[in-house]
Symmetry: D2
Subunit: 264 residues, 4 copies
């Protein structure tokens, strides 16, 4: 047990003279030569992306960075209200709500699609086959009373504006892979089975694109979190100068109906 063979890592190492990330020298090979998103890609896929992959990956991150005053953003800003000296705590609080309801769909969609097309080569993944697979999978999910992930959005009821744009970029980059194409077929199949079409949502399209870029489905949520940190920093920068946390607290206290009869 006390052998060291388990203390093993291929991510980073720091010695007195050099810092290495994924086998590359941070100073000589990475800084000034590789963009930050390309490094993030490298850290998971274990190779650098080519230019087209980099473009699609950036587009995915950009699409997920911010979505207004979401519950996560409010949690971060309210945390900053109490502990402005610990920015890391406010950002952590803003990430902790990225669960099954909010950013989870990115991962759920990646996983759902991956379970269907895993092992399928690019050439085998014909439109015809994907359509059949989509229909089968949707029927099965609907039959079992399970949600089909990646479809529908409480705000973007007709079209989520990020989705057609992401498909266009993937197409321009020649990266419209089996996951993105299957997701499109799933949306069609869902309309067919249910009789009412739901739009693909941005989280779902992002999950499909990340899977097409070679990311393991259960890490798709990680990139959604990375993107979200940029948005959170923006909101906390704003909270410093135009705070809303304290006003929100005061208004809630004032409006609150206290549910214990006899007490006011």
């Amino acid at each position: 047990m006390r052998g060291s063979e388990w203390v093993r890592s291929g991510i980073g190492r720091a010695t007195a003279e050099r810092i290495t990330v994924c086998g590359l020298d941070v100073a000589d090979d990475l800084m000034g030569k590789v963009s930050f998103p390309d490094l993030a890609f490298l850290l998971v896929v274990r190779r650098l992306p080519d230019e087209r992959e980099s473009r699609l990956f950036n587009a995915v991150l950009v699409s997920l960075a911010d979505h207004g005053l979401t519950p996560s953003v409010l949690a971060a800003r309210l945390t900053y209200t109490g502990a402005p000296e610990s920015l890391q705590g406010a950002i952590a609080a803003g990430l902790l709500g990225a669960g099954s309801v909010f950013l989870g769909p990115t991962e759920d969609t990646a996983r759902f699609l991956h379970d269907i097309v895993a092992g399928l080569s690019e050439r085998e993944a014909t439109d015809h086959l994907l359509r059949d697979m989509a229909l089968t999978a949707v029927r099965e999910s609907v039959g079992a009373g399970r949600r089909v992930p990646g479809l529908g959005h409480p705000v973007h009821k007709v079209t989520d504006p990020r989705v057609p744009r992401l498909y266009d970029i993937a197409s321009e980059c020649d990266l419209l892979g089996p996951h993105l194409r299957l997701l499109d077929a799933v949306a069609d199949a869902y309309g067919e089975v249910i009789g009412r079409r739901l739009p693909i949502n941005g989280a779902g399209a992002a999950g499909a694109a990340l899977a097409d870029l070679g990311m393991p489905p259960d890490l798709a949520r990680g990139f959604a979190l990375l993107a979200r940190v940029a948005g959170l920093i923006g909101h906390l920068a704003e909270e410093r100068t135009s705070p809303l946390g304290m006003a929100l607290y005061r208004e809630m206290e004032e409006r609150m109906v206290y549910d214990h009869p006899g007490d006011e």
Copy 2:
């Protein structure tokens, strides 16, 4: 109090048809056109960076992304051991240690330098003046028994390899601003005052560069956190397939000397 005037934000907004970030349309203006780091810059500085600023900003983020099996990385991997289904929790745990000891120096250095050169124009900030200011500030800090931030590193005792590289990139980009130049002068002044030179550390140089890029000092830590999330995702990707959390726990339990005499 119940007026809405305080519910005000210039970061993001989502309506049924469009998503806006900092006044730009996510689908039409940002996705596929603006890189993710440029969006992160926009969210705080409220304008897009030019190409040189973008290059320096990426280099800073790359320099901070990973530093091996740090306490933060270990905390994230150990958290994943217990809750692999909540990636957001493991990443949050990995951020929470980014305080005064570890990533705080990025902010401390930015703040220390900013307090000295704030309000100084580029043209006023001559080498001569910065040298004088550095000497005064170092003497004051040392006299008061305060640490001078940005200097010294437990691992990189002679040179932190990220630092000369970051200065080179800043110089190539014509972005060697008053903060980076002052930090250099501070290292010289420290050697003069104490009689032993300490190298500038990577966190400090990053903080100075972020300040030269126009970031408020108290948000410098935020970008260190953003960078660190990429490294954490890499480590968690590795933890999924080559876990070390459970082996570490077992070894600690086995080696632990229990401090209550009479109990074993």
Copy 3:
């Protein structure tokens, strides 16, 4: 939408003159009269426990407070290493690993048992019926390849010392309810079905006891977290004076085998 009817709570309220929790005055009705665990009970069950319930509830919390240098404790101590000024961050990090692997079993067991006996009156829950129900449930879980929660422990392979003690206390308090009794029957049934008996673990017994005390199963994890905070404070108190975080980091760095051939 802007009506206030949704801003409704029965937990706490603070006005200029008084603070109320669950309809009781904090100063007049609670402080000095109600113990802290009784208040925690009140906050969820919405009535104060009687003396026997209080004794069992305290025993459950005591049983879950600490289990040595667990991954959660290590995560908290390593977080403190980087951010000693933010105790809340170290404690939060120590809670975030309380997921499916570590404290989740408390909840999983409570839920598993509750799904079986919900709606059963005390009088209907005869030993005979519980035995039959246990056998059916275990056969079903084993047949479907699912884990039976609440059984087995990596360290306490024969008996988890907390379990017989908790059953004794419950029995002394006349609170050996359907969940605790069913869990016992489940352990028997598992031995019968598999041919090898696994001991009931402390997390499982705690979950069963909390369910017998009237806690909703999906909040059982909450009380495990409450208990764990006490243990974490103890470890952080120790970390202040006998730190192990930095030494652990140094040893890991030194022992690490870097997995990228050609780089060392």
Copy 4:
């Protein structure tokens, strides 16, 4: 470096047969015999409290458990909205705002008082001496433009109802020690120096009482967090059945004034 002497702890240990906390057997010595708050006390002070200490300690925890829909509670409930499957994340989010603004005053007050009376024996701490010390300390703080911690409250402008009650209980328990007495003198001194009396706040009185109970000042915040977890569990129990997170999000989105002219 690889010696094991640093892997040392006096908190908890688990072997196959027994679990020990602070040298006591969890099953035989603690469960059913020691209350949960007494165990929490033991974990930090390293001895069990006597009955009077236990009563005061419980009163402190009760006084800090809940204060209505605070920013911390809102952060926890909003986090639950996005990730209901990870209760630990919602509770962690609710703790992360316990910083300099909200629960920090407990620690700040304990530290402020402790810095003044540390080393003073019970007998030396005469009313007269404490009055003098208070006056000196307040004059110094006010002169240096520093806040005097423990005084004033945005809601309880005249009296914080927890404070007289806590002093009464401490007095009944014969535990009105130098910290609590000094805090009272500080409030008087502040009124004298400034000409306007501020009430002692609940966080400050709690910090003073914890210090009188022998807790190190920098762990006072830890007990405030422990108390707060009970309140958070109550709020999350309520959020499960009477959610307000999603309604709050919707209302904020609807009311938000977007600050970028030309975009709406």
